[in-house]
């Protein structure tokens, strides 16, 4: 199932409803749906924030089988490899902590696979999360 969403944070409610409806139809538990929603939002928001002048919609696809596979396609955006390891400070005391950078850190910890491709202005991110459901 695939749908296009306007490149704006106001799309997040519709994006949640789209993916939630499909995962609920497959009886996926909260423990799967939560990280899928979180990774999808973080990736979508990255595409919005890093491409403020781009007006194309963002294509989001989701497929549920033995794993949940989510893809996000960004046409016209800059290259941004979400699989690259970045230094994120999660151990420092409060006074040294700085907001930012946690989104990709969380994705990389919560999903089972994460891939990124970029060619001719087209960026595509695909991540998977094991569904635990052998019957779908």
């Amino acid at each position: 199932m695939q749908r296009e969403f306007p490149r704006h944070l106001n799309s997040l409610a519709g994006l949640y409803e789209f993916t939630e409806e499909i995962m609920k139809a497959h009886d996926l538990p909260d423990g799967i749906r939560f990280p899928v929603h979180l990774a999808t939002e973080e990736l979508f928001v990255n595409m919005v924030h890093y491409n403020p002048t781009v007006t194309t919609d963002i294509e989001v696809g989701i497929d549920v089988a033995e794993q949940v596979t989510v893809s996000l396609v960004d046409n016209g955006g800059v290259e941004f490899d979400v699989t690259a390891k970045r230094e994120v400070d999660v151990d420092s005391p409060l006074e040294e902590r700085k907001p930012g950078g946690l989104g990709l850190h969380l994705i990389q910890n919560l999903v089972d696979s994460l891939e990124y491709q970029y060619q001719d202005g087209r960026g595509e991110v695909i991540f998977t999360k094991k569904s635990g459901n052998k019957d779908v």
Binding site: L12, D30, V90, S92, R97, G100, L102, G103
Partner: protein, 97 residues
């Protein structure tokens, strides 16, 4: 949908989903907090990194006056997010029973 308001017992009740689109509402409320405060997450289903940023910003501001946030009734999914983010070391957090 995200709602934030004071509860009858004085705690700050957070409800719904705190995603990046709801941060303006959360930040406007938390920016007014002073002293020690308890955030009750009983009915908070979801939080993303944008919401974590607001919690961190608020905690840092309050720490300047030797105060801070206590977060209670955190569901296990949000608790995992806190753990991966190292928030368990800089916030007083109680999981939902």
């Amino acid at each position: 949908m995200f709602e934030i308001e004071y509860g009858d017992g004085g705690a700050v009740m957070c409800r719904g989903r705190l995603d990046a689109a709801q941060c303006e509402k959360a930040e406007a409320f938390m920016g007014e907090l002073e002293g020690e405060n308890t955030l009750d997450f009983t009915d908070l289903e979801y939080i993303s990194s944008a919401g974590l940023g607001i919690l961190l910003k608020t905690q840092k501001r309050l720490a300047g006056s030797s105060a801070g946030l206590k977060i209670i009734n955190v569901n296990n999914h949000i608790y995992d997010v806190f753990r991966y983010s190292g928030f368990h070391a800089i916030f007083d957090i109680e999981a939902k029973e």
